[in-house]
């Protein structure tokens, strides 16, 4: 759906994007991650033909960008950084206007398509208020509706849940997963790891304009071979699992074992009350922070030193502190990876 080869963009002396070769396959929910200023927006704009590459190639939906952009773009719904609308017109008028401005927007179906898109994003009951009276969340939803009006095959969304409240974020996530099930490929860029972790099947990570990582999220989150156990009787647990316990912090143990079921059976057999037993996986946060440096909005740390001040600790030592915002903040999504249900509490 999207392939780039050695894509480079220089603004003056600044290399915003450096030799990026990414590929987004049909049916993917692809999350492009990276610190602020890592080149995400520039990359998105290049995919849409708004910014011209200095060198390299882009192909979107089989069309070369920017030369054949007029063929690819009608099948793409896009949210480019913030949503934008004519403030003196209503949301509906804005969607109709944008639809009428370009190709593939049949006038006959316009009213229905606009209404459908508004309903999809939860703005079905919107009145004739001008957009200038909209809240941030409403604008964001309107921007998403604008991307959906022509029922695109590919969605390219830059920070799609920006400005939404938790319920709004979940609504949009459900919407995107639903569209994806119907065959729409979703490409989104974000710096919100929980959002990407809950939604995406594949991720790419940009750092200082370079694509430093691109893989299936599930394979990045393979079990680490450790199990996190919480018990009311840590002494007896340590004794039972003699030699396997790597680290103990009060009632929480980090145990080296590839087989959580066997571990559980041993503990239960020894009469140890197990409160929770979780297969340890690397969180998306650890994965991303491992491969990225500081963002462009941070100064005082040499940019060339990957990791900088926020570099994640390696998994063994991190095991002692199981609080991981990236995972903890979110309910398990069935789509986060095939064995997703297994890595949750099974006490």
């Amino acid at each position: 759906m999207i392939t780039t080869r050695d894509l480079t963009k220089r603004f003056g002396n600044v290399e915003a994007v450096r030799e990026v070769s990414l590929d987004v396959r049909e049916g993917d929910r692809y999350g492009l991650l990276g610190p602020n200023g890592s080149g995400k927006s520039t990359l998105v704009r290049m995919l849409l033909g708004l910014v011209y590459a200095t060198s390299g190639e882009i192909s979107v939906l089989g069309h070369r960008i920017p030369r054949q952009a007029s063929r690819a773009l009608p099948e793409i719904g896009a949210l480019i950084e913030e949503p934008a609308a004519y403030p003196h017109l209503s949301g509906r008028a804005n969607l109709r206007l944008l639809d009428a401005a370009g190709p593939h927007g049949a006038r006959r179906t316009r009213r229905r398509r606009v209404d459908d898109a508004l309903e999809q994003v939860g703005l079905a009951g919107i009145d004739r208020r001008p957009v200038r009276a909209y809240s941030l969340g409403m604008r964001q939803r309107l921007g998403l509706a604008a991307a959906l009006v022509r029922r695109p095959r590919l969605l390219i969304l830059d920070e799609p849940t920006n400005g939404l409240d938790p319920r709004g974020i979940r609504d949009i996530r459900d919407l995107l997963v639903g569209l994806n099930d119907e065959g729409v490929t979703v490409f989104l860029s974000s710096h919100l790891l929980p959002e990407v972790s809950a939604l995406c099947t594949r991720i790419g990570v940009l750092d200082s304009g370079m694509l430093v990582l691109q893989d299936q999220l599930a394979s990045l989150q393979q079990p680490t071979g450790r199990v996190l156990i919480s018990t009311d009787d840590p002494e007896r647990a340590v004794a039972t699992l003699d030699g396997l316990v790597e680290h103990r912090d009060g009632a929480d143990l980090v145990v080296r074992s590839p087989d959580p079921a066997e571990l559980n059976a041993r503990l239960v057999g020894a009469g140890v009350p197990v409160r929770s037993l979780v297969v340890q996986r690397r969180s998306l946060e650890e994965i991303v922070l491992d491969v990225t440096g500081t963002g462009s909005d941070q100064f005082g740390v040499p940019a060339s030193e990957p990791g900088g001040t926020v570099k994640a600790e390696p998994p063994p030592s991190a095991g002692g502190a199981p609080a991981r915002p990236a995972d903890a903040a979110l309910p398990a999504s069935a789509d986060a990876g095939p064995p997703a249900s297994e890595d949750r509490e099974i006490s």
Binding site: A78, E81, A85
Partner: protein, 297 residues
């Protein structure tokens, strides 16, 4: 895309507010003249104003002469300066281009929209000032005419024709003194309206070009106005006579030639020509810049 641009134009409050302002100025002037009966003496003040006390039907011409030097170019520069820069600063430009709307198409649609705005303004001024002229200043009072001449000071002085001190005769009178039938007057007013609209296209093209250079609509509008002010200064400067034939405002007043008998075409044709050159040059520059530019707004 053109329909979309026109829709945006007519749904903007600014469009109607600026047109209302342009119509209000001649109205205020007419009220003062009607109350005081003090029209500027022939040869002074704005064109045609000295004649309107004698014949209210001439007031559209006087009104156009009133709005032409400042109001109209300012309004056109504001609308045209906003064309690309305004879309860029509200962020809608990137969505239009990703819709996709071709960049060339967008520029052409913007020029058409600005032209439509100018035409609307000129028509509105003409129609309202005709009503003003007839209602406030009264219809033709041929009997009262003594020496209602038309200002010659603002007419191009190098055309070799007598331009000042012309006598107003019975009925509606041309600048050259010969009477005009109503049909002729209508034709000439239409001609003048068309010429004035075209005269604004040069400003519009300059403002659109500047609008592709910046995300500041105000900057683009002021830049275009600065060009016009410079041009106006040079037009009156003898030392600059070398460049005068190429200045965008050089033939702005040639529309007055429509009210001569017979119509004096030379400056009118040159006016059309110079505006065409400005439109072609600046639209080409706008296109060259816009089509190759990174849209980062």
């Amino acid at each position: 895309m053109i329909a979309v641009e026109l829709f945006k134009l007519v749904r903007r409050v600014r469009t109607w507010f600026s047109i209302a302002l342009m119509c209000a100025l001649p109205l205020v002037v007419a009220i003062f003249i009607a109350v005081t009966h003090l029209a500027p003496p022939p040869g002074q003040g704005s064109a045609f104003l000295s004649a309107v006390l004698d014949d209210g039907q001439l007031y559209p011409a006087a009104a156009l002469a009133l709005v032409l030097p400042v109001f109209l170019p300012v309004a056109v520069a504001v609308v045209a300066g906003d064309s690309i820069a305004g879309e860029a600063s509200t962020g809608t430009l990137r969505y239009l281009l990703a819709r996709p709307v071709g960049r060339t198409r967008l520029l052409v649609a913007k020029l058409i929209s600005v032209t439509t705005f100018t035409l609307l303004a000129v028509i509105a001024v003409t129609v309202t000032s005709y009503a003003t002229g007839v209602l406030i200043l009264g219809p033709s009072r041929a009997a009262a005419v003594g020496g209602g001449g038309i200002s010659g000071s603002i007419a191009p002085g190098d055309n070799g024709l007598p331009t000042a001190g012309l006598q107003a005769g019975a009925g509606i009178t041309s600048l050259s003194g010969a009477p005009l039938t109503t049909l002729e007057l209508v034709e000439r007013v239409l001609g003048a309206m068309a010429f004035i609209t075209v005269s604004m296209l040069g400003v519009a093209a300059i403002a659109i070009f500047l609008s592709t250079l910046t995300d500041s609509a105000l900057g683009a509008a002021l830049g275009a106005l600065a060009t016009l002010v410079a041009s106006e200064v040079l037009v009156t400067l003898n030392a600059a006579s070398v460049v005068q034939p190429y200045l965008p405002t050089r033939y702005w007043l040639a529309w007055i030639d429509f009210f001569r008998q017979p119509i004096f075409w030379r400056d009118i044709q040159r006016g059309f020509g110079i505006q065409a050159v400005y439109v072609v040059v600046f639209l080409a520059a706008a296109w060259a810049n816009f089509a190759t530019r990174d849209v980062t707004s």
